[in-house]
């Protein structure tokens, strides 16, 4: 339960982040952002880094630590 709750919530974050990145990709292709309009890309990048950082914590917790 502990394992599936942690990885399940992380999966939801990843799916949401992937959707945001896809949206960003489509909008960037349409030249929607530039050096003056960069709030959305910066927010999405920050969110993705958060998801990434979470995995850096979850991975050692679940896979690298020896069970007591």
């Amino acid at each position: 339960m502990w394992y599936f709750t942690l990885t399940g919530i992380h999966l939801l974050h990843v799916v949401f982040g992937t959707s945001l990145l896809s949206y960003l990709w489509v909008r960037s292709r349409r030249r929607a952002y530039n050096s003056l309009q960069r709030v959305v890309p910066e927010c999405v990048a920050s969110y993705w880094h958060l998801v990434d950082l979470l995995w850096i914590v979850i991975f050692p917790l679940l896979y690298l630590q020896k069970a007591a």
């Binding site: 990709w25 292709r29 030249r31 991975f59 896979y63 690298l64």
Partner: protein, 91 residues
């Protein structure tokens, strides 16, 4: 057995080397963009594969599970490279 001789240590060292190749080699305008992009995403897929095999015990999983999880990095890398090559350059 010394920890230095264990398989996971060797795999870990390999992953570090691959990271160096991506960060200080392929990302530094040493190659044309297509080579850099193919190299970076192929290396990322190989690294994901080895992390799953040796750090997430996929090596000892049943064959169908192993096939499904090994297919994942291949599909994702192919999709990203597909997007990159299928769309015209904006510059």
């Amino acid at each position: 057995m010394s920890v230095l001789r264990e398989r996971v240590t060797m795999v870990w060292l390999g992953l570090v080397v691959l990271t160096c190749v991506t960060t200080w080699g392929l990302s530094k305008d040493l190659f044309i963009p297509a080579v850099g992009v193919i190299g970076i995403f192929s290396i990322a897929a190989i690294k994901v594969s080895y992390v799953m095999l040796d750090f997430m015990e996929l090596r000892y999983a049943p064959i169908p599970v192993r096939s499904a999880f090994q297919a994942w990095p291949v599909i994702v890398a192919a999709m990203i490279l597909g997007f990159w090559f299928a769309t015209p350059s904006l510059t």
